[in-house]
């Protein structure tokens, strides 16, 4: 579902920009913690944003994706 992937990447990019960093290139293998540097509050916000956008999110379902690919696959 490439459209969902694009939306998710935009949300992630927004989180990184808001903390004052320049977002790296984001691809499926990017790790959410190490590569993108999202902390638990960022994940909390990501979870809320995904729920608002898609009506569901992996974190509420008890899944904690470690890569962007795993995250977007949840919505595929």
């Amino acid at each position: 579902m490439p459209e969902a992937a694009g939306i998710i990447i935009d949300i992630v990019r927004g989180l990184i920009e808001r903390r004052g960093d320049v977002p790296p290139e984001i691809h499926d293998a990017s790790t959410i913690g190490d590569d993108l540097g999202l902390d638990s509050l960022d994940l909390a916000e990501l979870s809320a944003a995904l729920e608002d956008r898609f009506g569901r999110d992996p974190y509420t379902a008890g899944i904690v994706p470690s890569t962007v690919g795993e995250l977007t696959a949840y919505f595929a």
Binding site: R18, S40, L41, L43, A44, S47, Y59
Partner: protein
């Protein structure tokens, strides 16, 4: 107790309007006469406690005065209750009698008919006149509620035309309370859960009303409902000053402005939420010719920005914000133009009638209403649930204990965040609250009403920027744009999910 105030005013000014509502005017002499007649009938029916659920505030005032004259404990229910809510309230507060409108199908006075009563009457009707316990024609009706046999719905018309002969209805023992100390049950707003009932006595409430009657009579707008502590305070103040109570058609800005202008209102008291709605709808020139002399805010913390806005609109009016609680009465009134309370309120002597202290960030108060007979100086303290921080010589309200947002273990107070957001251009109203979250338990969320013409994406970015220097857990993580905030009793409801959130 209001009956004594009413009699006093009626002696001095029998023909002065006591209440103006929806084009109707009731003079002090008329109000006293009606209240006395109602009091006699309450006694004759043997009623010693009653709830009041009538839509018209002139009726409600007369019933309150009648109850106090008869020594009957009165309790005004919120105007928005439906039949099931009335039954639930009656059950919760053990009310056997609820006085309701006589003709629920007709609009009475300035307010729409109470839908609650409509439904209640239909419920009784569905059971049919031959059903068990049903009464035909005039007379008490029991709603088909399924919560026991409470309450008896007593139409006001039946009460007004009923007998005053106690023997005919077997009434005994009504009005056993000393009329001067007639109790009053006041329900809390319940913005943070189910309402609680707090028993007051009129004489203690009235003891906090200072001032002397003025020659030409002040005119007080009753912007609160009479089930609210603020509404009772306005009523007591207006009557004690032999003034006139003006009831607006609704609390919408246009109706409030219309009442202010038409009745030349001098005193206006409301919650900050009420004031925000009123001043938010003002266009330049709208306030020209208004005669407001005293502006009062209470019931919620007052932000600096709102005080400044009101002062700018009404430069000659005295502006007071009152810290009060249903359980404690009026605690402090501040008129120095700044938000929060001066920290000097904490320095009062042990024998002061009202004292304040802070414990674990929570404000505790001790007032004549919280103190029981025999209490020592360390007894009778009430934990208010209001959290404060000391800043610049002021106690600033930062939230309620039940409103604390727990973000991954960090305790976050909503109000300082809300004040920042309210200062953002394009934001008309905002309510910060905790939103459940699978990662951190809760996150800070905010519901925002934008100003006309404001662009949501730009407002979102501006809010994020305004909160960027807050500690990370305190930054709003979920910003939602809504048409209006949830408001109950003219106060913002911050935990929309109820007590559990």
């Amino acid at each position: 107790m209001p009956i004594a105030i009413l009699r006093d005013a009626a002696r001095a000014h029998p023909d002065r309007p006591a209440v103006v509502a929806g084009g109707r005017t009731v003079t002090y002499a008329q109000l006293v006469a009606r209240s006395d007649a109602l009091a006699a009938r309450l006694r004759a029916r043997g009623i010693d406690r009653c709830a009041i659920a009538v839509a018209d505030r002139i009726d409600a005032i007369a019933l309150l005065a009648a109850a106090s004259a008869a020594g009957v404990e009165a309790c005004v229910y919120p105007a928005t209750l439906d039949a099931a809510d009335i039954a639930a309230h009656a059950d919760r507060f053990a009310h056997d009698t609820v006085v309701v409108d006589d003709d629920p199908t007709a609009a009475r006075g300035p307010q729409a008919p109470d839908p609650a009563v409509l439904v209640a009457t239909e419920g009784a009707g569905r059971r049919g006149p031959a059903g068990p316990g049903a009464t035909e024609g005039a007379g008490p009706r029991r709603p088909d509620t399924g919560v026991g046999d409470r309450p008896i719905l007593l139409p006001l018309a039946d009460l007004e035309t009923g007998s005053t002969d106690a023997a005919t209805v077997g009434g005994v023992g009504a009005g056993t309370a000393d009329a001067a100390h007639a109790p009053l049950l006041v329900l809390t707003t319940g913005t943070t859960g189910a309402p609680k009932g707090v028993r007051h006595d009129w004489s203690r409430l009235a003891a906090g009303v200072h001032g002397t009657p003025v020659a030409d009579g002040d005119r007080w707008l009753l912007a609160y409902n009479l089930n609210q502590f603020g509404g009772l305070q306005v009523l007591l103040h207006a009557l004690a000053h032999h003034g006139t109570v003006v009831v607006p058609r609704s609390s919408h800005a246009a109706d409030v402005l219309d009442a202010l202008r038409r009745e030349r209102v001098t005193h206006l008291s409301g919650t900050p939420t009420f004031w925000r709605i009123v001043v938010g709808g003002l266009a330049p020139g709208d306030v020209d010719g208004l005669e407001l002399r005293q502006i009062t805010l209470g019931g919620e913390p007052v932000p600096d920005r709102l005080l400044e806005r009101i002062a700018g609109l009404f430069p000659t009016a005295r502006i007071t914000h009152v810290y009060a609680a249903t359980e404690a009465g009026t605690v402090v009134a501040v008129s120095d133009g700044r938000a929060g309370l001066p920290t000097t309120v904490l320095d009062r002597d042990e024998d002061a009638s009202v004292r304040l202290r802070v414990a674990d960030g929570e404000l505790h108060v001790r007032t004549p209403i919280t103190v029981a007979p025999g209490d020592g100086p360390d007894d009778g303290w009430l934990a208010t649930g209001d959290l404060v921080e000391e800043r610049d010589g002021r106690l600033r309200f930062v939230g309620r204990t039940v409103e604390i947002i727990n973000v991954g273990g960090a305790k976050v107070h909503p109000l300082p965040i809300e004040e920042r957001i309210l200062a953002v251009d394009g934001v008309d109203a905002a309510a910060v609250h905790g939103s459940p979250n699978p990662v951190t338990g809760q996150i800070v969320a905010v519901d925002v009403v934008t100003a006309p013409g404001a662009e949501e994406d730009a407002v979102r970015t501006a809010i994020q920027r305004a909160c960027a220097d807050l500690p990370a857990p305190g930054r709003p993580r979920r910003i939602r744009f809504v048409d209006e905030l949830r408001i109950r009793g003219d106060k913002v409801v911050r935990n929309p999910n109820g007590e559990s959130s």
